[in-house]
């Protein structure tokens, strides 16, 4: 018990324990490390640096390395000794001459003034006084202005290193006085390499597949990768499997996802639902699973679009082979369609819909994608009979833009007719006002009077959208198009859908009956006796 408590007291997380201690250990930022090494060797170190890049990619670590290199008791060197008191103190973040300031919590002009005052005094024991200002973009404008003069002509013993994830928020006057280095996201392969080094040093045996899963979960951030590994090792030190990583991340095992993709390829909704059932049986978080599906389909899509060798793919060899096999047989359009469905599913789950039903419906839609043929293609087929069957996986191609309403066409006489003409109206409005069209696309017509149309904004969009739509510039654009359709001036009234109104509100005309009434669809139905419209995408 006491041992465990002692261990807990002294335990340092991997991300801190394995911060790089030399420029050679900096992963994924070789361009920065190389430049700084050369600058130190040539004595061309600038007085101010700006390190920018995403979180967890080595900005602060590199800043500390630079501080060590400049202040090491053994002399200025790109390879500091890492043994002297100064090197060790800098590494721990406790050195008196390397001042690390978190600009997120010390962002005011007083903090900047205190810093400016400190700059005037010589370092206590080292050659340089080095200010590492983390999250520099959080400083206020006044604080930046206070620093500006110091940055213009700093005393020779002072170096500034600004680290930020949002370089565009750093004023130009500051940025132009710094030498800027852009840190990049780290590839999964580089993270994997580093994780391997860590487990070797920790004298642990962890499968490559486990480390690879950690590396991919890190999404370009070394710190995140190390944190995942840390959690895994806390879970169990021996016999870790890729499944443990999945469990930790709330994700499904690869083979489950593969089974679903195989079912989609075979256009077998039953198999897809069975595979999904197995996923749910594992007690996984549906939202996390949907994210995983999106990521997987994204990988297959990128392989399809760029080829397996493209750097965009960024997969380890063992997964690459499997993904290449999975992506074969699908078209790129199919993947785009799948991703769209999954985004929609993710949105609905987030909104509180029953995740199981949402996912099941999504998978069935994806599995049945091959059955869907665009109206244009169906018409073409009807004209050039005999009709050839649709290829196995063929999602609906985007429909051509709806034709402009004919000036002389008879105006809609009922709300149902008007509802059928709605997409055309939206498309027409978009031509003159993109914003009005986008707003209108989310609404629906519910009542048609002699001189006025009532348009309803869904409740989840709120009153703000009603107010938006009521702006004269938008109503003007809509009424102009209505004028063309009805041949007379027709006003609009915008209302917000009431909370419990769904039962009482006028029923929206059935989409399938709408479509069946469309002359072009009618033509297809006539060409295929006995056919009916039962699924619309």
């Amino acid at each position: 018990m006491r041992d465990a408590m002692e261990r807990e007291k002294t335990y340092t997380v991997l991300a801190r324990r394995y911060r790089p201690v030399s420029f050679d250990e900096v992963v994924g930022q070789e361009h920065v490390a190389q430049t700084l090494r050369n600058a130190i060797a040539d004595g061309r170190v600038g007085h101010a640096y700006l390190f920018s890049g995403p979180r967890g990619v080595g900005k602060t670590s590199t800043a500390r390395l630079l501080a060590k290199a400049l202040n090491c008791a053994e002399g200025i060197s790109a390879d500091p000794c890492n043994k002297c008191e100064i090197c060790l103190a800098v590494q721990d973040g406790t050195d008196t001459d390397v001042i690390e300031m978190d600009a997120a919590s010390n962002r005011g002009v007083d903090d900047a003034r205190a810093l400016r005052e400190g700059v005037r005094y010589a370092p206590l024991r080292s050659r340089h006084k080095i200010y590492i200002i983390d999250e520099a973009h959080m400083l206020t404008r006044e604080a930046f202005n206070t620093l500006l003069k110091t940055l213009e002509e700093p005393p020779p013993h002072v170096k500034f290193i600004f680290a930020t994830t949002e370089p565009h928020k750093i004023p130009d006057t500051i940025a132009s006085r710094c030498q800027r280095f852009d840190f990049r996201r780290i590839t999964a392969a580089d993270i994997l390499k580093r994780l391997k080094q860590i487990v070797t040093r920790e004298k642990l045996h962890v499968d490559d597949a486990v480390l690879d899963a950690c590396a991919r979960a890190a999404r370009g951030s070394m710190r995140d990768g190390e944190s995942v590994l840390d959690q895994l090792l806390a879970f169990k030190e021996k016999g870790l499997t890729a499944g443990d990583v999945s469990a930790l991340l709330g994700a499904a095992a690869e083979d489950r996802i593969e089974a679903i993709v195989a079912a989609l390829k075979a256009a077998d909704p039953g198999a897809a639902l069975t595979a999904l059932d197995a996923v749910f049986a594992g007690g996984l978080d549906p939202a996390a699973f949907t994210d995983q599906m999106i990521e997987h389909v994204r990988t297959l899509m990128v392989i399809q679009a760029c080829g397996r060798t493209s750097p965009v793919v960024d997969l380890p060899d063992h997964l690459l082979e499997s993904c290449v096999k999975q992506s074969a047989g699908f078209s790129l359009e199919a993947f785009l369609y799948f991703i769209q469905i999954l985004f929609e599913a993710r949105r609905r789950i987030r909104e509180g819909a029953n995740p199981r039903i949402v996912l099941e419906v999504s998978l069935v839609k994806m599995a049945k994608a091959g059955d869907l043929v665009s109206v244009a293609e169906a018409l073409k087929g009807a004209q050039n009979a005999p009709v050839t069957p649709a290829p196995p996986i063929k999602p609906p191609s985007p429909e051509p833009p709806p034709p402009a309403p004919e000036e002389n066409a008879a105006p809609p006489s009922s709300i149902e007719e008007f509802a059928r003409a709605w997409p055309r109206l939206v498309a027409e409005v978009k031509k003159s006002s993109m914003v009005a069209g986008a707003l209108l696309a989310q609404c629906r017509p519910i009542k048609m009077g002699a001189a006025e149309i009532e348009i309803q904004v869904p409740q989840n969009l709120g009153k703000i959208q009603v107010d938006n739509l009521k702006q004269p510039k938008h109503t003007g654009a809509i009424e102009t198009v209505l004028h063309r359709i009805f041949g007379r001036r027709t006003g609009i009234r915008v209302t917000l859908e009431s909370g419990g109104a769904s039962a009482a509100e006028p029923r929206r005309p059935s989409p399938s009956s709408d479509l069946a009434a469309d002359p072009s669809v009618r033509k297809v139905l006539d060409a295929f006796p006995g056919s009916r419209v039962d699924h619309i995408e």
Binding site: A175, D182, R184, L336
Partner: protein
């Protein structure tokens, strides 16, 4: 005189004039001008005094100029004008030019495009610090790199200028970094620039839109990846992309309405890469642009409502734009 002539004049050892007015919006050149003066000798670096115009009156500046330097030699009085100080005191400055202090050199830094009421003469030199044109910037990069004892491929210099953006100070910083990065290697190549200098998002978004317009899916995806890897937030990227397509839609409408091409870029204030912008307009029909703009809006909604999956959203958008 042009800025480049200042270095020549100082090098020719013709002696420094008592007054230098460094005028122009390019702050880097103004600062470099001061550095050149400091390096010209006559103890100027040791005796440099910086005065902020916002905290001073002309009599104070004149008093500083006529007071001999404490350490002997000549004094460099750097007057940093942040507003219209020099413009408002043009008459006093011209009077001072008629009888300048023998122990001071005045460097007035004026961050405006024009200078009224001040005439160049033997005692007063006006140094233009205007922004460089693209071809000048490439030449400047080449000469700066040569001054550092290295050579640079022309393509690399051009790529650097494209990626570094407008600020000459940032460009100079990149030149320093590149020279340091290549170490003992005598030549800077395109790959070095690609490795060290992350492109400006504005430029990369153009590249993305261009690749998409040419239906080059792979290229478009690779540009998107570069942007995401550089840490650019997807929301910002989408905003830039949306802005780009809105401008394309406006330009298309203007062209369809019979406006001439140069008028279109001028009306829409397209100062970056106008030719490429117009070629993008040509590559699309209006309906296509509207549809693609709709895709961007849909991606924006997805980004806000799906709670993550930024990479997948951006990449599927790119593929739709390139479809």
């Amino acid at each position: 005189m042009e800025f480049s002539a200042l270095a020549g004049e100082i090098k020719a050892s013709r002696g420094l004039a008592p007054i230098y007015v460094l005028v122009g919006v390019e702050s880097y050149l103004r600062d470099q001008g001061v550095e050149l003066l400091k390096a010209a000798g006559e103890d100027l670096a040791r005796n440099a005094v910086r005065i902020s115009a916002s905290d001073s009156t002309w009599p104070q500046v004149a008093a500083d100029l006529y007071t001999p330097p404490f350490l002997g030699g000549r004094k460099l009085v750097i007057l940093a004008d942040e507003g219209n100080f020099v413009h408002n005191h043009a008459r006093e400055l011209m009077e001072y030019a008629a009888a300048p202090s023998p122990t001071a050199v005045l460097a007035a830094l004026v961050p405006s495009e024009k200078l009224a009421g001040i005439k160049e003469g033997t005692t007063l030199r006006i140094v233009e610090c205007r922004p460089m044109r693209p071809a000048e910037r490439v030449r400047w990069v080449q000469s700066e790199i040569q001054r550092s004892g290295k050579a640079v491929d022309r393509a690399a210099a051009e790529l650097l200028c494209r990626r570094a953006g407008d600020s000459l100070a940032e460009l100079a910083g990149h030149v320093t970094n590149l020279v340091t990065y290549v170490g003992a290697r005598p030549r800077i190549a395109v790959e070095d620039v690609e490795r060290l200098v992350v492109g400006l998002p504005e430029r990369e978004v153009y590249e993305l839109a261009l690749a998409a317009a040419r239906k080059r899916r792979k290229e478009a995806l690779e540009v998107a990846r570069t942007l995401l890897m550089s840490g650019e937030a997807p929301q910002v990227l989408l905003w830039r992309l949306g802005w780009q397509y809105r401008k394309l839609i406006e330009a298309k409408k203007l062209i369809l309405a019979g406006r001439r091409r140069f008028e279109v870029t001028s009306l829409l204030q397209i100062t970056y890469f106008p030719d490429e912008f117009l070629s993008l307009v040509d590559a699309h029909a209006l309906e296509e642009l509207l549809e693609k703009h709709g895709e961007i809006l849909a991606a924006d909604v997805a980004l806000k409502t799906t709670g993550g999956q930024e990479q997948a959203i951006m990449e599927s958008l790119v593929l739709r734009l390139a479809a």
